[in-house]
Structures are given as structure tokens and as C-alpha cells.
Symmetry: C2
Subunit: 587 residues, 2 copies
């Protein structure tokens, strides 16, 4: 069997920053050539970043993507790496890019992969299956391709597919029909808990169907709300794991694969009902591999470490990709802001983290002490700004009571943090957790203020688990535990009125999170939850709060639309949009 040395560039692109992403691919080509690779694959939309959202509907962006691809091919050749076939993900269109792509019927845009060599594009493959659920909307943007391309490299027929193609399966069936010796599947697959196991399982199944190994390449890095976790891997037709890359970090994964030689005849030029196949012969002779290299096997991460790494990378990349030099947020002495502080330190370094204690008349002494203790343990920039003078200025101006005064305190804190952000250029972090956001137990324009909410998708019970895990990790490394024990042990409170406890308004977090996990994450209905043993009145109240809090989770006010293009679902730009400019934060 011929051996092919394949290189998978698990890189961290930025949406819209074509030049930066092209540089990553160019560097990978240099490294892969130096490593003696016979083929380099890069991620889904490695040139444009993923997800480009409504940039895909912008004429000028699609044209820029095509033009940059052509130039990249020339650059790689000029670098002396032209002999290496490189698979590049990018945006394409049929023929000339249409004007007003977003209008009804005006689509024709492709989620594409080009194989480039010797300064030229050898072929363009168009993704066949589109994810259109959850965070994905690809049916809004793309039309499917119906032609699978194979490249004969060193006597092996390699088929190229993109992401959902491996779940949908039609291109895999076409690759099997064409007797491909290897299937490359390039991805931009966002992390979620348990996702890697599901990827491995589907790829095992498809490799068996294809009768050939599948090289599954994923990108890495945070992009707005998504974090891509890397973890690229290669699975044999019999299900064996042949190599695996690290999670949550960039890597050029190189492996030598013994693969079936291309068959005789025209099996790889085939016209089936579902998908036709086209073979491009690059080299018939088996490639020379003098010294076999050991394939990499990255360590598997345990559940909490995996989540921590996802949160750390997501926060760090949000700060970096948006060009911030530092962050600021309120440190209350409670568990949420404590966990946020340790995450921020781990993500961008203690010197870039500014925390502010903002005690009110209802803040307990232990809150201020615990906040100071944590800042000291973590080496953060720490200051104290009592809020009572500002609160008093409002309440002496207008008559306020009850909830209005509770929320006022949170809003004074939000206003203080935004003033510090405007004055010093810090990104404000919002330390709210998923349990709070789900039921609306937060103050809009108050503690919900911020440019990024690192633990927005972390339930309160998981906040505690992560805090305990992070302290244990520090202990195991002989470091100071970053989170004061009292912060973990004391009952949670918003401290907006005397002796307030979270449990005054909410059930115990074990019960709350159980209901939320069913109602939010699994679409369990009221009866399912009753069947799980939760009390009827609690289920009724919590599900009502979740639905009612929808506005607070969005915060930006809706307004009547009178034009087809406005700001809403029909103009959905990535927040990190390096194509035109950088997001502002102040006025």
C-alpha cells in the first residue's frame, strides 16, 4: 500500500480578516513542506473565517474571498511550496458574484474548498449538506454542490468533503463508489459538551461506509459566541484512531497513512443520481517516505477541564480578536465574579484584569473581604468604589422604593464600569451565569452590562463544580488556590436589600438547574418535568420566568421594521468583523 504523509492545519482564523488568515495558511504550507507532507488540508472557510453570517450576502466580500484565494495560491508558489497540494476553505459564487445576493432568489453562493498547487486552483468543491439548526443558518446563504472531487496524489485517490457532508452522508457514499483511498473532511465545528464523542462516532460509521480512513480536521479558537475546539483526528475504516490533535490549541498535525492504491479504470469519474465524481490526477507514483513518523495522540481531557479550556479560549480570543488590551468588571465576593476573575486571569494574564469592588449599604463585610482576598490571590488590579453617594443622588431626586432601589444599585455599578471602560479602554465583562439569565434574575443595564459574558452558558451548579475543580487543580500543582473557600461555601446573595438570599426568589440551584436543563436544553415540556418529580408550582413558575425573560436576554429594544434590510435577522453581521472595522464599545 502506498504511504501518504498528510498534514492537517488546525489553525485559528478570524472572521473577515482575509490577509491574516491567508498568512496562517501560507505558514502552514511552509511547515508542511518542511515536514515532507504530500498534502495539506486547512479548515472549513479557513480563508474567510467561520461563521461569516451575512458577510456571505455581501457582493464585495465574496469577490474579495475569490480574489484572495487566487493570490494565496501564487504566494505559496512564490514561497517555494508550490508543489504541495493545499486544500483551502473559502467563499465562492457561480459565475460573477450577483448583486443584492440577500434578496429573494438571488442566492448562488458556495461554501467552497479549492485544491491549489503550483500557483493555480486545480478544482473547486462545493459543500453538499448544510446545517440549518442551532447556531447554524447555512441554508440562508448557500446552494449545495453535486460534484465530488478526488485528487490522485502519490497513487492514492483522496476525496474532499466539508463538515456537515460527513453527517449528511451523500458525499461519503459517492467517495465509496469512487473507491477513494482517503476522505478528507474539513470542519468548523463549534464545541459543545460531549461533541467530540459524537464526532468520533459519526466518523467511525462513515469511515466504515467509505471503506477508507477519514481525516477529520477542525479549526480552533473563539469567534463571538462560538468556540472551536480543534481536536482533529484520523480514523481508519475499521474504526481505529490513527492520530489525534490537541484540543483548544493550534497545531499542524502530521501523520503517515498507509492507504489503498487507486484502482484501474474510471471508477472515480462517475455520474450517479445523487452526486457525480471527478478525478484529478496529480501524481500516479507512490510518494517516497524515507523515515516514518510517529503519529501524534493528544491526551483526552476530563469533563471539567474541557469546559474550562473552552471558556478560557472563548474569552481570551474575544478580547484579542476585538483588539482590547484589558478587561474590567465588578468583584462582589460571590462565586460568579470570582470564577470570572480566575478565567480572565487564565485567559489573558493577571496584569490585564481590573476588578472593582462596589459595596453598597447592603454589602456584607465578608463580601468585601472575599473580593480583596481573591484579587490578592490572583494578583489582579483591584480597587474599591462605594456606590452609596451615587445611589443617594438618585433617591433624593426621585421617589423610589423596593425593586426600583434594588435595580438602581445594580445600574449605578453598571454605569461606573462603563465609565471606567470609556476612560481607560477596558472591555467590560458581565459575570452572570446561565441560571440567572434563563430566569431573568439579573438587572438589565445593571449587572448584565458588558461586552462579553464569559459564563453566560454555565449553570450555577456548574459554576460551583468549576470553582472547586480549579482550586483542586491549583492544589495539585502546588499553587495557591485562587478562590477563597468562603466564596464557595457561603449561600449566594445579590445583596441588594438587607439579608437577601437567592433562595428568597428562586428554588435551590440543584432544582432550578434541573428544570432549566430540561426546559431549555432538551425541550422538555411541563408534563415531562412533572414526570421527573419536580413540584408543579415550581415548574409553572420557572418555565414562565424563562419565557418572560426573553426580552432581558436580548436587551436591545425591538422596533417596528419598515424596510426589508434593517438591523435584525436580515442583517446579521459577525460581531468580530475584521472585514471593515472593529466594533466600538463606547459612544
Amino acid at each position: 500500500m502506498p504511504t501518504l504523509r498528510i498534514a492537517l492545519a488546525q489553525d485559528n482564523p478570524v472572521v473577515g480578516d482575509l490577509d491574516r488568515n491567508a498568512e496562517l495558511i501560507r505558514s502552514a504550507a511552509t511547515a508542511a513542506t518542511a515536514a515532507g507532507a504530500h498534502l495539506l488540508a486547512t479548515g472549513e472557510q479557513s480563508l474567510t473565517g467561520y461563521p461569516v453570517e451575512d458577510l456571505a450576502l455581501r457582493h464585495s466580500f465574496v469577490e474579495a474571498s475569490r480574489e484572495r484565494l487566487a493570490r494565496l495560491a501564487e504566494e505559496i508558489a512564490a514561497d517555494g511550496n508550490g508543489a504541495l497540494p493545499v486544500a483551502v476553505g473559502y467563499l465562492d459564487a457561480d459565475g460573477s458574484v450577483p448583486a443584492n445576493i440577500g434578496a429573494v432568489g438571488g442566492r448562488g453562493i458556495r461554501n467552497a474548498l479549492a485544491l491549489i498547487q503550483d500557483g493555480k486552483v486545480l478544482f473547486r468543491y462545493y459543500k453538499r449538506h448544510f446545517p440549518n439548526y442551532g447556531v447554524f443558518d447555512e441554508e440562508r446563504y448557500f446552494v449545495p454542490g453535486h460534484e465530488l472531487h478526488l485528487a490522485r496524489i502519490g497513487g492514492v485517490d483522496v476525496a474532499f468533503t466539508i463538515c456537515e457532508d460527513v453527517w449528511g452522508g451523500v458525499p461519503i457514499a459517492a467517495a465509496a463508489q469512487a473507491r477513494a483511498g482517503l476522505v478528507v473532511n474539513v470542519n468548523a465545528s463549534p464545541y459543545e459538551q460531549g461533541k467530540q464523542e459524537r464526532r468520533r462516532a459519526i466518523v467511525e460509521q462513515r469511515a466504515a461506509e467509505a471503506g477508507a480512513p477519514i481525516a477529520y480536521l477542525n479549526i480552533v479558537g473563539g469567534q463571538d459566541e462560538l468556540v472551536f475546539d480543534g481536536g482533529s483526528f484520523i480514523t481508519a475504516a475499521d474504526g481505529r484512531l490513527l492520530a489525534s490533535g490537541r484540543r483548544f490549541g493550534s497545531e499542524l498535525l502530521v501523520a503517515d497513512l498507509e492507504l489503498a492504491a487507486a484502482g484501474e479504470g474510471d471508477l472515480a469519474n462517475h455520474s450517479a443520481t445523487e452526486m457525480s465524481t471527478v478525478l484529478h490526477v496529480l501524481s500516479e507514483e507512490p510518494a517516497a517516505v524515507e523515515t516514518r513518523i510517529e503519529p501524534p495522540f493528544a491526551p483526552e481531557l476530563d469533563r471539567l477541564e474541557e469546559i474550562w479550556e473552552a471558556l478560557r479560549l472563548g474569552l481570551g480570543d474575544y478580547v484579542r480578536k476585538n483588539g482590547f488590551k484589558s478587561v474590567v468588571f465588578g468583584l462582589s465576593g460571590g462565586i460568579d465574579s470570582a470564577l470570572t476573575a480566575v478565567l480572565a486571569r487564565d485567559a489573558i494574564g493577571a496584569d490585564k484584569v481590573h476588578v472593582v469592588a462596589m459595596p453598597s449599604q447592603y454589602s456584607s463585610q465578608h463580601s468585601v473581604d472575599d473580593a480583596a482576598d481573591l484579587a490578592e490571590r490572583c494578583g489582579l488590579h483591584y480597587s474599591v468604589e462605594p456606590i452609596q453617594p451615587m445611589v443617594d443622588a438618585y433617591v433624593s431626586q426621585i421617589a423610589l422604593s423596593g425593586l426600583a432601589v434594588e435595580n438602581l444599585q445594580a445600574r449605578v455599578r453598571g454605569t461606573l464600569l462603563m465609565a471606567l471602560s470609556n476612560q481607560h479602554g477596558h472591555l467590560v465583562l458581565a459575570p452572570g451565569n446561565k441560571s440567572e439569565y434563563a430566569v431573568g434574575y439579573s438587572t438589565i443595564y445593571g449587572d448584565a452590562v458588558g461586552g462579553f459574558a464569559p459564563i453566560k452558558d454555565v449553570y450555577k451548579t456548574l459554576v460551583y463544580e468549576l470553582a472547586t475543580w480549579r482550586n483542586e487543580k491549583a492544589r495539585s500543582l502546588g499553587e495557591t488556590e485562587p478562590i477563597p473557600e468562603n466564596t464557595i461555601l457561603k449561600p449566594p446573595s445579590a445583596e441588594l436589600r438587607p439579608d437577601q438570599k437567592d433562595t428568597d426568589s428562586l428554588p435551590d440551584y440543584e432544582i432550578l438547574d434541573g428544570i432549566l436543563a430540561g426546559y431549555v436544553d432538551s425541550d422538555s415540556g411541563r408534563e415531562d418535568l412533572l414526570g421527573q418529580g419536580y413540584p408543579a408550582d415550581v415548574v409553572e413558575r420557572i418555565t414562565g420566568l424563562v419565557d418572560g425573560a426573553e426580552y432581558k436576554r436580548r436587551q436591545s429594544a425591538p422596533g417596528t421594521k419598515i424596510t426589508i434590510k434593517s438591523f435584525g435577522k436580515d442583517r446579521r453581521l459577525p460581531i468580530t468583523n475584521q472585514f471593515r472595522g472593529k466594533p466600538g464599545r463606547g459612544k
Copy 2:
């Protein structure tokens, strides 16, 4: 030719409020029976409201929709209106409703129309074409139907279609093949400028293709960001307008139509490649019509009146459907808050409108005078709350300068308004216009604070046009002009520093809005805009601001997702979600 008396219920449903919507349909059936109608049609998803967004992925909601439909059929029969065939829009599923509909491949939900009579469902039609652009996402939720249903009523074969079906065209071709005598097309079609002309044009074309009249029924009312403008109409095969309903209001439109009698044979039971047809015979004998009624023809609205009515209805329904009794916002003396005030008065009545002048040290006397003048002219609840004491409390606590102090003033105002909202239950309105939001010329958590932004999609130049038009309308009716002339004539300013003018930071609004209309509404690129004669530096700056302001337009902080279901694109509930609860506004 037989005559059919058709009734179109142009009603205002609320998303998720099945009982309320069922009552509307029941009342329409009573009125249509009293009017001697032979057929009643109601809007797309008239029972569930539109758009239901992710409620379509909730098992319990789809089941509730089906169950409520069956009960509605019985109720209409019990009312003594069972003889009337009634077309009802609702959500359905194939077989039993699947659990976890939102998961990959788990879909099977139908955007459906049922014809009910005598307490029973005669047939269920499933929408064939789905809009999946702009504000629409129907491909996320629904699977298409492939069977057109016709009902023979009074000897006429009536085909039933839903909304996009008339744009896509396949069901119309099937109706033509089946020689339908009438095509009913029920819609939930949101308003946009010029939309009614486009609807009329496509329906004319399709009526010619069908060789039969098309009755185009639209719903009416504001639903979150969308406003449905009614304006139902009936077009003959030769393009003549046979009847038209009012815009922006509920109406039962009744018209007598002379229609082709059903042919012999089985033309209407047909199996074509694209769509098969099924005929249901309700009554073969031509219906008796004793006294012909005159068809209604509603007046056409001019451009500015149409926009005004859209904004008025959108705001009014947002307030009503979310259960608010009153609104509050800041009245600066400038044009945006002035227009918002008149809109609010026209939408919900002066007695429910609370306005607050919040002068700072930089506010001019004319600002305070103009605000008081407008409040007086419009009869609004007016108060003055100077913000300097609160601003001073912040700046004596932390060192602030420049932009940080400008934004602070706006945030103190936002905090004051939210405190009044929490104390008194008012909905806060954000009076920002589209030009400002587009370029980020507003303060996040400051003047952008609010639960609804009535003129969010109105460019500044259109704000001036509407203000002038509204004053002229008052003059023509012999009423006081609501907006002080000085508010319209003076140069706009945020008044956040001495002698500030909008033109310090932005080009003239004619130029700004011209660039925005191209870049935001038409996807014109930089080169297109240069070709239109805009200066290169201005184009570069404005397009960069638009992209950079994306975060401010969203306001709610993104956060790393670690679960498949979180709050973001994969859990998109209507804000007005009456199915479970009401949206909260305070903590």
C-alpha cells in the same frame, strides 16, 4: 357562472395566545355566517399567531395547536355556524409530534391550513414554499407539502395556498392544472415600504397563470419588530382589482365573486411530478345569493401616511400585547423624541404617555422650552428631572473626562428612566433613529435604553419628513400642530458637551442617509458608493462605523456557548410570547 360570497377575516392575532386567537376566528365565523358568506378564510397561522419562531420546535406547543384546532371546529359548530367552511392557519406535525424537534433531522413540522366544517377537519394543507431570507427562517422549522387541496363549494373548485406559495408558484400551477375557479392565498406578510405594490404585481401575474381570481388575505397588527399591514385584496384573472380591504386595521372583507363552475371529470384529482391535487366535494349546487353586495374598495394611502400608520400600529400593539398600561421616555426638545411623543400619543393616547425632560449643564434653554411646548401641545404627562446632581456624584467618585463624561450623562438619564419604569410600571421607549443606530452614534445603556424603539428603522431624513407631514396633517384638520417649529428647524445636537452639533461627528444627514441606504439596505459596496459620487473618506468612515456598531445594536453581551441549546440563535422565542408568560422588564 355561479356566484360565491367569500369572507376574508383580516384579524390581529397574538403569537402563542391560542385561546385569544381562537376567539377571533369564532367571532369571524359568526359574522361571516350573518353576512351570508359561503366560505371564510383566516390568515396564515391565524390560530398560533405569526411568526412563532422557536415555539415551532416545542413539542408541547405543536400539540396544543393541533388540539386547539379540533376544539375550535367544535366551538364554531356549537355556535350554530358549523355549515360554513372555515380555513384556519395553524401548526401541525406528521403523525405524533416528535420530541426534541429542534435536533438534527428531527423536524417534521408543518405550516398548515385546515378546512373545518360541521365540527370536523375536512382536510389539512401543508405550505409548499418557505421564505428563508430577511426576517424569515421557515426552512429551520418546516417541511414542505406536496399535495394541493381543493374544496368544491357551491359548484366552484376553490384551491387553498399559503403566503410564499404565491411567490414560489408551484401550487398555483397545480391549481391551474386542476382548473380551480378560485385560489385562496392566506398570508402573514409583514409591511415594508412599497410591499403592497409588489404583492399586487405578483398576484396579478399568478391570477393570469391560474386563469382564476386570487383572494389574497393578510393579517394585521404589530408583533415584536414586524407589523402586518392588512390590505387584503382580490384580483381577477385579467388583473382587475375586485375588492380591497383597509390597511393597518382589522376587517371582515366580504365580496360576491362570479366564478367558473367546476368542470366534469377528475381534473381536480391529479398526480403531477411537482404537486398532486385532491378534490373535496362540499356542495355541487351553485349557492344562492339573493342580494348582491357591493365589494369594498379601501382608499390607497400615500407614502408618508402609510409609514406613519405602520409605526403607530407597531408601537401600539407592542404596548398592548405586552400588557403595559403606559410608556415613559426622555423628551430632549430634539426631533427624535418629539416624533416619538406624537407617535405614542397617536398610538395609545396622551394620557398613557409620560415624558421627562432631563437637562444637564450643557442643555440649552431652547431644548427645555421646546420639550415643554411639545408636551403642552400634545397633552402629555410632563416632568423635569435635572441630572447634574447624579452626574456630579459619579465624577467626584472617579476621575472621568471627554467621551466618558458625555456617555455618563446619557447613562444617568437611562438609569433615571429605568427607575421610573420599575417604580410605576411604564414601558421605556428608546427614541433613537436608524441613522444613529447604524453608525453607533448613541450611548449603549444610555439613550439606547428601552423596551421598544419606535423609530429604530426610520432614517433621520425620514424623521424630518414625517414630522413635517404630521404637522401638515394636523393643520389640514384644523388641529394644533403637535411639533414646535423650532424643533424641526434647529440643527440637531446631542448636547453632551458645549456647543456640540451632530455635524461635528457626522456628515450632513442627506449624505449619511444616502450612504446608509446603499450600504445597509441595498448591499452597495464601497465602489458602488464612490460611483454614486460620495467622497472616498466619508464612505470609508461611515461603512467602518456601520460594521463596528454591530455590538451596540445587539447590546446583550455574547458569551461562549458550551451547550447545544443556549440563548442565541438556537433558542429564539418571540418576545411577545403569550404561550407561557409575559416578558418582564425590570429585575
